[in-house]
């Protein structure tokens, strides 16, 4: 491993330890997966130490994510891939949320200089009190240096539901693009060229156009490709244990779907040893990703996840606000000796508070206007611990209140209720 790569690795590791300012509306999250990774497709060392750092910059309605992975062998540090993603999410209005996703990625393997892809996608989500939802989306992906030579049209739809600690998701995604088929490409593509050349399959030739002169016609042609993925997945949290499993089937004719990508299944288990350290293990089969030039592969992995500021797991296929900016939080005297909690936050469906005054049971705050939420409570004089959350998001200390780490190492707000009698 040369010094430059060691330096990059050191900087990445050090960056994971940079504390984030949680009191800001935006926050940084990071994690590093490190462990043994074994594949059988030959594009990376068959078994190597894999390092995969991830950074996220989260604001209430936008998230910027940088992710990469590298394989370390005795001789070298081989960068495998890198992805830069941005997600913009609109406020929820009557249960409907819009989402725009952009990705720029590069995948590198030992056989080529790498493949690049830029894709943009828009989705419209219908949320049912964040216990379930549907979405419909579409977008385009532009790959480079792969057999796909056109922009690919991507359309997807799906549904998800939460049952207890488990989230079930079903997704249907359709890909449509033009690709170059050659004898150097997959077996099925070579077949398609051969078929086109011989003209033995009626209709097949109409979808193809030879891209070279007659001499090369037998080894290269363009054809319209289309395939669809149907995938089901489950994410289940049980205390310190997290399980992820997915299984899928790829629809499409044999020219577009290789036999090794027809069906796939994989599963991973994560056991959190502490708030910031977890053990991960898993394996399975992944289908080919033609748009990124990645072949199907079987993989097994085992290792550690180090998360200085743990990245929230996207258990549902919509980016919910990570830290919705509460505009204000006030406590005012109400009728009959009650205290009224007044919160200003717009574009959300639910607001809840909990604290010592509710025996840590969530209490629903009532909407009284576009962004005004109120709840009258019998709060006794003294200092109360209180947290608030919106749209079933993470509990957080209300803005404008002093905070402290409580006995379970969580941030809680400290609400001082004065004794009006004195």
């Amino acid at each position: 491993m040369n010094e430059q790569k060691v330096a990059i690795l050191a900087v990445l590791t050090a960056a994971l330890l940079v504390p984030a300012h949680r009191e800001l509306a935006a926050q940084i999250a990071s994690k590093l997966d490190a462990g043994q990774f074994t594949v059988n497709d030959g594009t990376v060392p068959s078994s190597a130490l894999r390092l995969a750092p991830t950074f996220e910059y989260q604001t209430p309605y936008a998230t910027l994510t940088a992710h990469g992975s590298a394989f370390v062998t005795e001789q070298s540090l081989q960068i495998a891939d890198g992805v830069l993603s941005g997600t913009f999410t609109s406020p929820t209005v009557y249960g409907v949320r819009a989402e725009m996703i952009g990705n720029a990625s590069r995948a590198v393997d030992e056989r080529s200089l790498g493949t690049d892809q830029v894709d943009v996608q828009t989705r419209v989500h219908v949320l049912f009190h964040q216990r379930g939802g549907l979405w419909l989306g579409g977008g385009v992906a532009r790959p480079w240096r792969v057999a796909v030579i056109s922009s690919a049209d991507v359309a997807d739809a799906g549904a998800w539901t939460k049952v207890g600690g488990a989230t079930f998701t079903a997704t249907f995604t359709n890909f449509s693009f033009t690709k170059v088929a050659s004898v150097h490409d997959t077996a099925s593509s070579a077949l398609s060229c051969a078929v086109a050349t011989s003209g033995t399959v009626p209709g097949a030739a109409s979808a193809m156009r030879f891209v070279a002169d007659d001499a090369a016609a037998s080894s290269a042609c363009e054809r319209q490709s289309r395939f669809s993925d149907l995938e089901g997945s489950v994410h289940w949290e049980l205390g310190a244990l997290e399980l992820n499993a997915q299984s899928g089937y790829r629809f499409g004719d044999s020219y577009d779907v290789t036999p090794d990508s027809r069906r796939w299944s994989s599963a991973t288990a994560t056991v959190w040893l502490s708030d910031r350290v977890a053990v991960i293990g898993g394996g399975g089969r992944q289908p080919a990703l033609p748009l990124r030039g990645l072949p199907a592969r079987t993989f097994f992995m085992g290792g550690l996840e180090l998360a200085y500021w743990p990245i929230s797991h996207n258990t549902i296929p919509v980016s919910l606000p990570h830290a919705t900016l509460l505009k204000s939080f006030d406590l005012r005297p109400a009728e009959q000796g009650l205290e009224k909690i007044v919160i200003h936050v717009g574009g959300v469906e639910t607001v809840e508070v909990m604290g010592d005054f509710s025996d840590w049971t969530p209490l629903t705050v009532t909407r009284h206007g576009r962004d005004l939420w109120e709840l009258a409570l019998p709060l006794s004089p003294g200092v109360h611990q209180i947290n608030v959350r919106v749209d079933d998001g993470p509990w957080m200390a209300p803005p404008g209140l002093p905070t402290m780490h409580d006995s379970y190492d969580r941030d809680v707000g400290l609400l001082v209720v004065k004794d009006n009698k004195s």
Binding site: W360, G382, Q385, M404, S407, V416
Partner: protein, 210 residues
């Protein structure tokens, strides 16, 4: 058996079943039932001990309920409740006969990292003066990274100078703003404490504001 008695038999049986079900329902709704019996016994023992010692036992109960709500491991909940018990006892011993609310707030300061000796300045106070706001600001400053010694020194000094709730709150808002803009927490407090107005010795005996 009379016909009327026979007729009312199902009603009586139903009523008995309902009565028998009441304790079962009550058990279901008691969150402490989610704890392992040994852990539950330990926590209830500490709550009783706190009550007998004149400590605010509701703080221990609330802490246990929070742990249960967060699905924290039972042994960890017992550890945290035991630690809180110790903090409450230390706060009571240090502050003397103050209200339960003040003991709880002082325990929160100790939990944040302050030392018991640093609470001593709050042992004596003017009648009707509350240290709740001072304690919450103190806990917050330590949480935000202000060194414990510097935070306790600043808060104690302000308290001894007769600062009221508004002054403590104003100091906190200023320091919070500076920290969020990237200033070192300790330096932010030192800068702001110099700008913080306090009462003159002549007005020290006046009743607190707010």
């Amino acid at each position: 058996m009379k016909r009327s008695s026979l007729r009312s038999l199902p009603l009586r049986a139903g009523a008995l079943l309902c009565l028998a079900a009441v304790p079962a329902v009550a058990q279901e709704t008691d969150p402490f039932n989610k704890l392992d019996p040994n852990n539950r016994f330990s926590i209830e023992l500490m709550i009783d001990s706190a009550r007998n010692a004149g400590l605010p036992s509701d703080a221990l109960r609330s802490l246990a309920l929070e742990g249960i709500a967060l699905k924290i491991d039972g042994k960890r909940i017992v550890d945290r409740v035991r630690r809180e018990f110790t903090l409450l006892r230390t706060a009571r011993t240090t502050l003397g006969p103050v209200s339960d609310e003040e003991v709880k707030a002082a325990a929160a300061v100790l939990n944040s990292g302050a030392k018991p000796a640093q609470l001593a300045a709050f042992k004596t106070r003017e009648q009707g003066r509350s240290d709740l706001q001072a304690f919450t600001i103190w806990a917050d400053l330590i949480t935000r990274g202000v060194p414990s010694e510097e935070a306790s020194s600043a808060i104690s000094k302000l308290w001894e100078d007769g600062a009221d709730d508004a002054i403590f709150y104003g100091l906190w808002k200023s320091v919070q703003t500076d920290i969020s803009q990237g200033l070192n927490p300790g330096a932010a407090l030192q800068n702001r404490i110099r700008e913080t107005p306090v009462r003159t010795p002549q007005s020290k005996g006046a009743p607190p504001e707010g």
